[in-house]
């Protein structure tokens, strides 16, 4: 997927102007940046929730806006940060909604349904909870159920908007490990917005760093996140060191 000369405005002032980027296939790309930097806006432009004022977004070489919404739902799936649903919906039923793009007006079952649902349940480790109601689940389990619904859409690309916000650290890492598995085992292209710089370092291949609607850096995560750039974007001093156990750099903010 790529964005070309993207412009978007809230009200009068252009918020994102002439933005170019592309999403590498079968990789995990994380969008980071301070509050109000435009990371969620960019994500919403990519998934057709917001319409760009100018420029284009291409999916498989075709203009995003030329896809029918239903066809698009077979290509890209999104997990939002906060979701609400009637509390009596069971996990199984929620995940089945993910098959909606494949159903016609008259039939409410498609050929692959059972197989796909079983797969989505087992990947997200929800097989045992499938008959539970959403209101009976913990926050982390509920988030997994929403991810499972998106997986049931059987798309090549999965977008996640701050998937770990509102979860405690145990569930945060559970979700992030799940996302990594989806990428490694099923070759899914992942695009997500994260707040935590260390999680971005640990779990992504590429990073898009944003500030005030502009892209400050776009490329490999380990090249992108430097002490200098953290200060430039977030205005805080930090040190970045190597963690031997994780085989991954990590960032420590410095008190001033």
């Amino acid at each position: 997927m790529e964005a070309k000369q993207l412009t978007f405005r809230y009200g009068m002032n252009p918020f994102i102007q002439n933005l170019d980027t592309h999403i590498e296939k079968e990789r995990i790309t994380t969008i980071i940046g301070p509050n109000g930097s435009g990371k969620s806006t960019l994500l919403n432009l990519f998934v057709n929730q917001l319409k760009p004022e100018n420029g284009s977004i291409l999916l498989e070489g075709k203009e995003l806006s030329s896809y029918k919404q239903k066809k698009l739902a077979e290509k890209i799936a999104i997990v939002y940060q906060q979701n609400s649903a009637p509390g009596d919906i069971t996990v199984d039923r929620l995940i089945r909604y993910g098959r909606t793009p494949y159903q016609s007006f008259f039939s409410s079952k498609d050929e692959d349904e059972e197989q796909v649902i079983d797969w989505a349940l087992s990947v997200t480790n929800l097989t045992e909870l499938q008959t539970k109601k959403l209101s009976e689940l913990s926050g982390g389990e509920r988030q997994r159920a929403w991810i499972a619904m998106a997986l049931a859409q059987k798309t090549e690309i999965l977008f996640l908007d701050e998937p770990t916000t509102y979860l405690d650290i145990y569930y945060q890492y559970e979700i992030l490990n799940l996302i990594r598995e989806l990428n490694h085992n099923f070759k899914m292209t992942i695009v997500m917005v994260l707040h935590d710089i260390n999680q971005a370092l640990q779990f992504s291949d590429n990073v898009i760093i944003m500030k005030k609607g502009r892209i400050v850096f776009d490329g490999s995560v380990r090249e992108g996140i430097t002490e200098h750039r953290i200060e430039e974007v977030y205005g805080i001093k930090s040190i970045i060191q190597w963690c031997e156990q994780n085989k991954c750099p990590y960032m420590i903010p410095l008190a001033t």
Binding site: Q69, K70, N83, S84, P86, Y97, P101, S108
Partner: protein
Amino acid sequence: MKKISAFVIVSVLLVIGIIFSISVGSVNIPLQDIISALFTKETGSVGIIRNIRIPRVVMGVLVGANLSVAGVLLQGVMRNPLADPGITGISSGASVVVMLIMLYFPNNSHMIPFYGFLGGMAACLMIYSLAWKKGITAVRIILAGVAVNAILGGVSSMISILNSESLAGVLNWMNGNLGKKSWNEVKVMVIYTGVGLILAMPLAKSCNLLALGDKNAKSLGMNPNLQRILISIVAVFLAGVSTAYAGVIGFVGLVVPHVARLLMGSDHKILLPFSAILGSFVLVLADTLGRTVTAPYEIPVGVIMSVLGGPFFLYLLRKGGDSYGS
């Protein structure tokens, strides 16, 4: 299994309610007369049944189903458990237009339900445009509805007072009344109801997806705004045509969907048909109460529903109005 038995129980209750409603009144009529009334054209008590009570009960069944299904659809569309054709002013809109038509074009009675639909649409557009402010929130819809309802209710009172000679019995009709319905009107209503309910059932899927929020509905391939418009039109149609013949009957579309949701859960594929049956039962029961409790005086069914439904509305408000979603 629990859900199937709930269906069976409510259906049986409806049948009992219908028979009871036909047999009680100023003249009590035994069961065998009711059966013979269905197949003969006699006068006397059989005539009462055939030409007065049966049309009235059938009208109650149809209107109850329509208003309840309209309530479920409106609540789905507005994601608000307090939405109902009466509270939002849709019924008042229908009643104003119908009154004007009856005054100035009194000779096309089979088209009257259609005018009710147009009036309801006008009210619905008013509510949406008043409540719209970068999207629609539950509270603003209700506030806009209350305002629209007050204005249109005032207008219809004005029309009825100014024309009290030419519009005999209009006061009764405005309060919601199932009495004095001819077989002709019932037949017209059967057609409108059939069309409305057939259009409503396939919308269950969209209602279910809308309950997941607009963003999720869209990412599952649906066009939330288009579906909202379609669902609203069908809901207004059901409420508008009912108001045209039966007047403003509030709270059916509020109480019935709520009870149905408690019993059957949030799946609209079950909720819509179940609410239709339960709504028929509730309205037939309320009408029978109105006819019998204070006999020989008759309380319009709309008044009964307000007296019983109003407190229920307050109870829902107190509960925080969050039984839909979350």
